[in-house]
Structures are given as structure tokens and as C-alpha cells.
């Protein structure tokens, strides 16, 4: 398959502030690509360069073989876009906003637009300012999908959506993929990317640190289990178990916090030998995961630098 997005050594700085540095990746036509990174990593900057809202300082970005800056008009005919912080005229109703953008796109299939409104159960007669956060997000989602774009560029599209509408969104992404359309989706939620993407790129501190199959994400995914016991227990019991990466003793031995990777079966079986008061599982934020996952890399780099 041909690449629909080609980014080569893309660099953007905001004066003294860091933007992105020499980011390179490709997205194949028809795939759902997840662009993963903690807040402030450079996801939105990359997307805004692709959308020709920012001009790159160096490097190149091409969509469907067209230069993102010089041929932005042709590119925007192909794209449906959701910005990270969508802002629309607060005095227009949802219906007016959708009609306005339909006109700016040179017209859309009205029956398909009505279908989308129906699917998201949107009341189009309310002013944008009167909508809840979730309904505002629905308006923005519909405007991105309503012209059946060849490429969807979505910057954290599900923030603010309730679980039901998130499911509807997931279905629409799957439909888009089944129809051969491409989705470029940024997120800081691991499980979301894991669920709907085929490939991921991970960006951190303005640089792309990893790109590959979604299994790569699973490899770095960790979760925590905190177990409280009625009596003090030996923490060593858990250290050698499958899936346990780290063990921290709590409350003078009356509890443990385990960093996990993989199935928790052995932990549950081991804990069952002691009087358990409570057991909670928690998926840490991407920032926490990255901090732990990459701090080892940083330490290694520092060590190598010191030796040199």
C-alpha cells in the first residue's frame, strides 16, 4: 500500500519553546494510525503542521503526495479534521454550524449528514454555547465525517464523549477503515489507541521515540495492583511471580503495590494464601508509564555519556 502521509525530519519551534524536532514517519493508506504521547509531547504541533495551520521550520510533510504547506487547498479537500481544542461560533446553532461547514466544503450529501446527526442523537437547534461538552464534541465529530473524507486527522477526538458515544465513534472509525479510508488519530489514552489502531507512533519531548505495530504499545503497557492484607505478609512472595515488574511494600507489610505487565493470574493465586482485605487494579496515566519506561533509557544514555 502507498503512504498517504509522509513526514520527513519535520521540525517546528515556537521561539524559545520546544515544538517538534526531526519527526519522521509514514502512514499507509487505509490504516488507522495512533499518534501517542503525553500532554505537551508535540502531537498537536505535528497535526497542525499537517493541516497547514503552522509552517514547518525544516523538513517536509506530504499528504497524498502533495506538500502540506504549498498545496494545502487540495489536501484539505481530502481531509476531515478535529482540532484538539475545537472552538466554533458560540452564537450559531449546531445545525447552522454543520450547514456552514457543508457549504465551505462545496456541499455534502445531506442524507448522510442527517444520518450522522441521528446516530449521535444531536439536537441541532441549540446554540453551540448552550451545548454540553459532549454535545459540542459531537458537532465537531459530525463536521469531520460528513463529507466522507479520504483521510481523517483527529486530535484527541473522544475527550468529553460519554461511553455510549465513544462506542459510536469506535464504530465509525471501523467503518471508515472498512471503506479503505485512513485515520490518523492522536491520543494520550493507551487503551483507546490499543483498541482501534493498527499501528502507532509514540512521541515524547518533541521527538518520535518509537513507531510500529500496536503490539509495541502492549509491550510497554503496565498496570498496578494494590493489595491490602489483614496481617503483615512477606513482600518477597510476589517478587518472582510472572508479570510482576516491581513490588513496593505498604503499611508496614500489611499491603503491597505491584507494577504489572501481562496476566495477573499468578498474583491472584499467591495473594489467596493470605487474608485479603481489598484488591484494586489501576491503569496509570501515559505520563506515568512513559516516565518509568523511558527513565531507564535516560539513565542508560547518561551513563554512556559519563563513561565517554
Amino acid at each position: 500500500m502507498a503512504a498517504i502521509i509522509e513526514v520527513e525530519r519535520l521540525t517546528k519551534n515556537y521561539g524559545d519553546k520546544r515544538g517538534i524536532a526531526e519527526v519522521s514517519f509514514q502512514v499507509e493508506e487505509g490504516e488507522v494510525f495512533g499518534f501517542l504521547g503525553p500532554n505537551g509531547a508535540g502531537k498537536t504541533t505535528t497535526i497542525r503542521v499537517l493541516m497547514a495551520l503552522l509552517r514547518a521550520d525544516a523538513g517536509s510533510a506530504r499528504i497524498a503526495g502533495l506538500d502540506c504547506w504549498k498545496q494545502s487547498l487540495e489536501i484539505k479537500r481530502l481531509i476531515g479534521y478535529i482540532p484538539g481544542e475545537p472552538a466554533l461560533d458560540p452564537n450559531l446553532t449546531g445545525g447552522q454550524i454543520l450547514e456552514y461547514f457543508a457549504h465551505l466544503r462545496g456541499g455534502v450529501d445531506q442524507s448522510y449528514l442527517k444520518q450522522l446527526i441521528q446516530r449521535f442523537d444531536l439536537d441541532t437547534s441549540r446554540k453551540f454555547r448552550q451545548y454540553s461538552t459532549g454535545n459540542k464534541r459531537k458537532v465537531v465529530l459530525i463536521q469531520a465525517f460528513m463529507h466522507r473524507p479520504r483521510l481523517l486527522i483527529l486530535d484527541e477526538p473522544t475527550s468529553g464523549l460519554d461511553p455510549l458515544n465513544q462506542q459510536e465513534f469506535d464504530r465509525m472509525i471501523k467503518e471508515a477503515r472498512d471503506e479503505g479510508r485512513t485515520v490518523f488519530l492522536s491520543s494520550h489514552i493507551l487503551s483507546e489507541v490499543e483498541k482501534i489502531c493498527t499501528r502507532v507512533g509514540i512521541i515524547r519531548d518533541g521527538s518520535l521515540v518509537r513507531i510500529g505495530d500496536v503490539a509495541e504499545v502492549k509491550a510497554i503497557k503496565r498496570y498496578e495492583i494494590t493489595i491490602t492484607f489483614a496481617t503483615a505478609i512477606p513482600a518477597e512472595t510476589f517478587k518472582t511471580l510472572d508479570g510482576v515488574v516491581e513490588v513496593e511494600t505498604l503499611n508496614d507489610g500489611h499491603g503491597v503495590r505491584l507494577a504489572m505487565q501481562g496476566p495477573a493470574d499468578s498474583v491472584i493465586k499467591a495473594a489467596a494464601h493470605y487474608p485479603v482485605v481489598s484488591l484494586t487494579s489501576y491503569e496509570p496515566s501515559l505520563e506515568d508509564i512513559f516516565l518509568r519506561y523511558y527513565e531507564a533509557d535516560d539513565a542508560r544514555d547518561k551513563e554512556a555519556h559519563d563513561v565517554a
Binding site: 515556537y14 497542525r48 493541516m51 497547514a52 495551520l53 503552522l54 509552517r55 487547498l73 487540495e74 484539505k76 479537500r77 481531509i79 479534521y81 482540532p83 481544542e85 475545537p86 472552538a87 466554533l88 461560533d89 446553532t93 445545525g95 447552522q96 454543520l98 450547514e99 456552514y100 461547514f101 457549504h103 465551505l104 466544503r105 462545496g106 445531506q110 449528514l113 442527517k114 446527526i117 441521528q118 442523537d121 444531536l122 439536537d123 441541532t124 437547534s125 454555547r129 448552550q130 465537531v140 463536521q143
Partner: protein
């Protein structure tokens, strides 16, 4: 320290308004004091001034207008609407505005009673009003001292207090109404409408004999009962207490209702007053003309403000045409004894025409100033749209940046043309109705000639918005307007060199009501406008959006 309580934080938010509005309104009070000295040179001139003021008795009480304090009190009668703008906005925004933004949810999540939060905010607004009143009082005292007023510091401070009290009443009305509206805009709109009604009610007893009982329903009436800048009249403590009581009752009722209603909701109205229940609607406004392009949408956005500005500008021009003939004789006698005023009118109007024609021409010179002020407000919207991210999705559609910018500019251009044409028609109609002879060509030149100036300031604003954020852009344009006005109308008195006078856009407007349009001047303005717009467009095409 300023972030240690809701009261101090709110007061901190008002700090710019306290200084800006306090000093600005103080200068509004002082400016007639500066002007009246020129008019009071002879006993005859005093009589003429009193007689001329009597013509406008419907507007304000004519009490000792031949004194500095009396004249200032009389003149600012009409400005009460202007002075009430801040409390009107602050009152409607105090609770409802924060609910709109969602910031009140966070504040009310703190372990602090809702009533206390509302009272602290109210206390901050009142403190701000009294601080403004203090500044206005001090400036009024300074003005009186400088221009020979016969009132003391205590009188001036009472004057400021009286203003603060009427502002607290208006703020209280806005605060109370905002408990019944879902957004702050309608609350401000309803309060502005009520303020207009209050002003008219107050006027009734000056126009219709034995109708004082009607005027007593207006808080403005009680405000006008006090005239502290006129020592022979003084402050009416009873009236001031009525204002204080009104402010307390209105604000108290608003806070009481706020403490009992849903945050984000409104006070429930009786069933017969409620609008019918809304049903979920999934229809699309397919035939709406204003959604067909960036230009059409921009025109839709500008329509309502353009309507009000048209009303103001065309209304001002019409009013000037109507009154200039009525006060022709008195004006002539009055001005003949005041060489300074004659010079001022010559600077603004014309050096060689009759005083009446010169006066009308001078007043018409204010029209482009108003139109340019309108243009500044629209440039502010353009700049704010980019800053707030509202251009992002528009620019994600296949629309050229150039056309997006030109669409907005063209809508502004259309509005300025409409305002000018309606002003032309209204003043021509007024002239025909009153029998005032005005050269049709010159009248067209005076009204339509302001279009290039409106577009010039807009183009400069679009250019500056390529680098500046909204507040800085609007501030710069306002400063440019003020400087141009100063250079053109005070500059000749200060013997500024011709090269400096040519820096003002008003120089190129000239005196079209008397001498018609100077084509080369107009072409010059159009050329500078085109250049500024081209540079602005070039910058917009190449810039990072929202950075």
C-alpha cells in the same frame, strides 16, 4: 494577598476597569468644565448659554448652567447612559457570566457557602463602583479647581458618591435580571432597555407639566435630585438614601434568588410566563443565506452591531441637521463672544463658512470618527476569532486564507457602505423636512466620504493583527484614532506643522459638507488602505495560526 479571598480576587479583576472607567468618566465630567470657561466671557454670553441650555431642558435640569459645576452637571445628564455601561455589564457578568464560563462550578465546590461567595462578589463590585466614584470626584474637584469652579472637595466627592449609587442601582438591576436569563447577554440587553425607559421616565416631568409622579418611578430621577457641584443646590441626602435602598433591595433580592436556584439554571418563572417546552430538533437550516460562504457568514455576524451603529450614526447626523437651524441665532450670538470656540469650530468645520454651516460641518466630522470606532470593534472580532481558535476549523476546509480574510473585510466594507448610505438618506430627509438647504453633492461627499476612512482603520487593524494579540491590536487602533483626532482638531491651535497635520486620516476627509470631496485625498486614503490590506493579507497567508 489579592488571591486570598473571593472579594479580593474579584476586586483584583476589576482593577483595570476601576482605573480606566474611573479616569475616563472623570475626564468626561471635566471636559465640559474646560469648555464652558470659553463661553462665559461676558454677561451676555452667560445669558445666551442659559437660553441655549433651556432648549435642551428635556434632557437635564437647567440649574446654574452659567457656573462651572452647574454646566458640567447639565452636560453629563445625557452621559448617564454611558456611565452606566460598566455597572450594567459587571452586574450581568458577576454571577451569570461566571456560570456561562463554568468557573463558578469550581468556586462553589470549595467549602464556602454560596451566599457568602455571592456577597463577596457583590461587595467587590460595590467597592469598585465607590473607587470609581472617588476617582471621578477627585477629577471633578481638580477640574473645578483648574477652571474656576466654586465647589469644594466635599461637594465633588458627594458628586462621585451619587454617581456610584446610581451605578449600584443599575448594577443591581442587571444582577437581578441575570437570575432569570440563561446567558449574560440577554440580561445586559434587558437592563440596557430598562435604563432607556428610566431615562425617558425621568425626562417626562421636564416636558409634561404636573407629571413628576411618573418620573418618581425612575431611579435616574433620584440621581438628578442631587447636584453637589452646584453649591446653591447641593446634594439631596434623602434621594441618595433612596438610591442606596434601591441598590440594596435589588442586589439583595438577586443574591437571595441565586442562593436558592440551580447553578447554571434560572429562577423558575410562573407557568404562564414560561416559553413552551423545546422538543429535540434534528432539522438543518438548508436555506439559510448567511451560511453559504465566509462573506455571507461574516455579513450575518456583523448585521446586528451594524444596525445599532447605523441607528447611532445616522441618528446623530439627522439630529444635528434638525437642531442646527433651531439654534442658529443663539449659537451665532454665543460664539461671537468666544474666539476660542470659534477657532475650535473653524478647526473642525471650516475657516471661511458661516458659523452655522461651520458648526454643522464640524459635527459631521465626528461621523467618520464614529464609523472608524465601529470598524475597530469589528477588527477586534477578527483578531479574537484567531486568538480563540475559531478560525482553525474554517481554515481546515478547502478555503484559501486570502479569501477568508477578504470575505471578512468585504463584509465590513458592505456594512460601512450601508451605514454611510443610510446616514446620507436620513440627513437628506431631515434637511428636506426642516427646510435646511444643504448642497446634495456635498452632503453625499460628507456621508459617503467616510467609507474610505472606516476601511483604512480596518485595514490597519487587519495588518496589525498579523503580529498583535486582540487586546494590543484594539488598543493600538484606539490610540491611533485618538491621536488622529487630537492632531486634526487640537493640532492647528497648537500650531503643529502641516507635515504633522497630514499624518492624521481626518486631514484627508477635509470639510466635504462645505467644499465637497477632494478626489486626490480620497484616492490617497484608498491607496494606503489597499497597501495595508495587501500587507495584512500577505502576513495572514504566511503566518502560523493561533500562535
Amino acid at each position: 494577598m489579592w488571591l486570598s479571598s473571593v472579594f479580593l480576587k474579584t476586586l483584583r479583576d476589576y482593577r483595570v476597569a476601576i482605573l480606566g472607567w474611573g479616569i475616563g468618566m472623570g475626564l468626561v465630567v471635566v471636559s465640559p468644565m474646560a469648555g464652558v470657561g470659553m463661553l462665559l466671557t461676558t454677561p451676555q454670553a452667560r445669558e445666551e448659554l442659559i437660553s441655549l441650555a433651556a432648549t435642551f431642558a428635556w434632557n437635564a435640569d437647567v440649574v446654574a448652567v452659567d457656573t462651572i459645576g452647574g454646566y458640567a452637571t447639565f452636560k453629563i445628564g445625557i452621559f448617564i447612559f454611558l456611565i452606566a455601561v460598566w455597572p450594567l455589564l459587571a452586574g450581568s457578568r458577576m454571577l451569570r457570566g461566571e456560570e456561562d464560563r463554568g468557573s463558578l462550578d469550581v468556586l462553589l465546590s470549595l467549602p464556602r457557602p454560596r451566599l457568602r461567595v455571592a456577597l463577596e462578589k457583590l461587595a467587590a463590585m460595590w467597592s469598585a463602583l465607590f473607587a470609581m466614584g472617588l476617582l471621578i470626584g477627585l477629577l471633578a474637584y481638580g477640574g473645578g479647581w483648574k477652571f474656576g469652579g466654586d465647589f469644594g472637595l466635599g461637594d465633588a466627592l458627594l458628586f462621585g458618591l451619587n454617581l456610584a449609587l446610581i451605578c449600584a442601582v443599575i448594577g443591581g438591576v442587571a444582577l437581578l435580571i441575570s437570575q432569570f436569563t440563561q446567558e449574560q447577554g440577554p440580561a445586559a440587553g434587558w437592563t440596557a432597555g430598562l435604563l432607556l425607559v428610566f431615562i425617558v421616565l425621568d425626562m417626562v416631568h421636564r416636558v409634561i407639566p404636573n407629571s413628576e409622579w411618573i418620573s418618581r418611578f425612575s431611579p435616574i430621577y433620584y440621581y438628578n435630585l442631587s447636584k453637589p457641584l452646584v453649591p446653591s443646590h447641593g446634594a439631596n441626602i434623602g434621594a441618595m438614601l433612596v438610591l442606596l435602598a434601591l441598590a440594596l433591595v435589588l442586589s439583595g433580592a438577586a443574591v437571595w434568588l441565586f442562593a436558592r436556584r440551580d447553578v447554571g439554571g434560572t429562577v423558575p418563572l410562573p407557568r404562564w410566563l414560561r416559553l413552551p417546552e423545546r422538543r429535540t430538533n434534528r432539522a438543518l437550516p438548508v436555506g439559510d443565506w448567511s451560511l453559504r460562504s465566509v462573506y455571507a457568514r461574516s455579513l450575518g455576524m456583523i448585521a446586528v452591531p451594524a444596525f445599532w451603529w447605523t441607528l447611532g450614526i445616522a441618528g446623530f447626523a439627522t439630529w444635528m441637521v434638525v437642531v442646527v437651524q433651531q439654534m442658529e441665532a443663539r449659537l451665532s450670538e454665543l460664539l461671537s463672544s468666544s474666539p476660542t470656540m470659534i477657532n475650535l469650530i473653524k478647526n473642525m468645520g471650516s475657516g471661511d463658512a458661516s458659523l452655522t454651516a461651520g458648526f454643522l460641518s464640524a459635527m459631521f466630522v465626528l461621523l467618520p470618527l464614529f464609523l472608524m470606532a465601529f470598524a475597530v470593534t469589528q477588527v477586534n472580532h477578527w483578531s479574537a476569532d484567531e486568538q480563540d481558535g475559531r478560525l482553525e476549523l474554517v481554515l481546515a476546509t478547502p478555503q484559501r486564507r486570502l479569501w477568508v480574510l477578504l470575505g471578512r473585510f468585504a463584509a465590513l466594507g458592505t456594512a460601512t457602505i450601508l451605514i454611510s448610505v443610510i446616514t446620507l438618506l436620513a440627513s437628506a430627509g431631515a434637511a428636506a423636512a426642516t427646510g435646511l438647504h444643504l448642497d446634495p453633492g456635498n452632503l453625499a461627499a460628507a456621508t459617503l466620504g467616510m467609507i474610505p476612512l472606516g476601511l483604512l482603520i480596518a485595514a490597519i487593524g487587519y495588518l496589525a493583527s498579523g503580529w498583535l494579540r486582540t487586546a494590543a491590536d484594539t488598543g493600538l487602533l484606539s490610540f491611533v484614532l485618538a491621536i488622529w483626532f487630537f492632531v486634526s482638531f487640537i493640532g492647528p491651535e497648537l500650531k503643529l506643522p502641516d507635515a504633522t497635520l497630514r499624518l492624521s486620516a481626518f486631514y484627508y476627509y477635509g470639510t466635504p459638507l462645505l467644499h465637497g470631496l477632494q478626489l486626490t485625498s480620497v484616492l490617497g486614503v484608498v491607496a494606503v488602505t489597499a497597501l495595508a490590506l495587501s500587507l495584512g493579507a500577505l502576513r495572514f497567508i504566511h503566518k502560523d495560526i493561533g500562535v
